[in-house]
Chain length 308, copies 2
């Protein structure tokens, strides 16, 4: 499957019925351990669910507070991610209840709850499989909701012509994308950034309002419009949309604002689908194979070799 | 006081004896609300302290889990930050125990514990006053530790010639700094980024290892060395220093690696002092007044006017 087909498969991934069975309200905290494409799900869950602290973790080490009162969800598409395995093993040792989400590998053979998802994709393309069990378990997402999420994704893919035009703007001057998120779309902004990194092989910058009004706004009047392209997501909070307007007025800079509608979850998936396709087209326009992440694989091999 | 003097004052700020009196272990979670320069303290605390989840919050809204089992620390140097006041008021309504850290303004007149810190600085320059009460209260930092932190800061300022040379490298090609942090230096990387934003009026990009090996590493081989300068912090974790070496080898790109020594807290302050002075010199070389953040003030005025 090519990268475009992998990206388009998101719309069907969200119909998956896997679900986490634990009631998150029974825990003091929830840690979602995962790296890269497998880590985004935890960031998005923490943007949406707030009855219990949800801490996305990308690294080797569980915090000291992780004990039997902390649910640890380990997500690794391959099931063999070094950092995630390290966190998962610590969780088992400390008696944390655990859920593993993987398509195979070491983690899928562990004791504790395992949700085995379909393999054969790039990890970053399997985001629907990795996130839906969290949303079904934590947010009571049912089949009807999933069908509406699917529609939101399709409506983004239907805008492919518009998406291609934006990709051309980015490619024509080799501009660096600056993604201006909002508190509810921090995970989405991270997704856009990392998809630009991997699919388009470009640096991308992400920030979010209102925080950006306390630091990033300072450079905007003096930045180089040839080098950067400012892209903002409109918010569900009118106070933040007012800031999007005012920031443009006061800095004299124009943002490319991307709207969305529906529930927060529908908006999140709309924006993910939009950004995924954008990163694909930017990669193609740059003459790069969006599927190729051999530099990441060589790094993994180098790390493995250093341990022998 | 000019910006350089404000930055140099950090070494004496850390001798401040203010401390939070609450025992954090008595709470299920701790939220540190603050924006921009006042928000960094919460990010740094969450990098250092892990007996209880510490959630840095920059925005208007407390999460649903914030109740009487959650300690809310609101930091606003002016005491008048709209978002932080909003969080603080919600905390009082919900019966969360609160601590306010401010030099004056609305927040300093609130009920609950108030730590009043010296005024007259730019908020971002008062980081020592804002963070020390957290470190004294959570990490049992005493006067001897504070004296060692002061020495670490002085040893960074003693490197001003080296710092200036790095500023010249950044200025000469108008390069965008790319800051490669680590899990223990996420707050520091954010500090560098935002000090570049405000003092130097440049975009700066921050990421951290090992996470960056799952996304950012993909663009590194194809990036434009004239446009970007990659700066990494060496880690206290040898597994991450191995990644710094391997990433350079596999991408064929050279990082400017900044080392540090001593305890984690000493290293953090050393790196903050180093970056603060670097951002100052870059601003000066760019012909910009590092003190001037009038664009941020105009934004605040615009927001206030929109409410009338």
């Amino acid at each position: 499957m090519g990268m475009r087909e992998e990206i388009l498969s998101l719309k069907d991934q969200v119909l998956s019925r896997d679900s986490i069975d634990f009631d998150p309200k029974k825990f003091k905290s929830v840690i979602v351990a995962g790296m890269g494409g497998s880590g985004i799900a935890g960031q998005i869950l923490s943007d949406i669910y707030d009855r219990v602290p949800v801490i996305p973790l990308s690294g080797y080490t569980l915090p000291a507070f992780a004990d039997s009162s902390c649910l640890v969800i380990a997500i690794s598409y391959s099931g063999n991610t070094e950092e995630t395995i390290s966190c998962f093993e610590q969780a088992r040792e400390r008696g944390c209840p655990t859920v593993a989400i993987a398509s195979g590998g070491t983690i899928s053979r562990s004791s504790g709850t395992v949700i085995k998802i379909p393999g054969g994709l790039q990890p970053r393309s399997a985001i629907g499989y990795m996130i839906m069990p969290l949303l079904r378990g934590f947010m009571n997402i049912g089949d009807q909701d999933a069908a509406r999420i699917r529609s939101a994704i399709v409506s983004a893919f239907d805008r492919e012509a518009e998406i291609k035009r934006l990709a051309e703007e980015l490619a024509s001057e080799n501009r660096t994308p600056v993604i201006i998120g909002t508190p509810e779309f921090r995970g989405v902004a991270l997704r856009w950034r990392t998809q630009f990194n991997e699919n388009s092989k470009v640096v991308a910058y992400s920030t979010f309002l209102p925080e950006a009004n306390h630091n990033d706004t300072a450079w905007m009047p003096s930045y180089d419009e040839e080098r950067f392209k400012l892209i903002a997501f409109s918010s569900i909070d009118p106070r933040i949309n007012l800031r999007i307007d005012l920031t443009q007025k006061i800095t004299g800079r124009k943002f490319h604002v991307i709207g969305s509608d529906g529930t927060l979850i529908e908006r999140i998936f709309f924006l993910i689908a939009y950004g995924d396709l954008l990163s694909y087209h930017l990669g193609v326009l740059r003459g790069i194979d969006p599927l190729d992440v051999s530099v990441l694989s060589r790094l993994k091999d180098g790390l493995a070799a250093s341990k022998r």
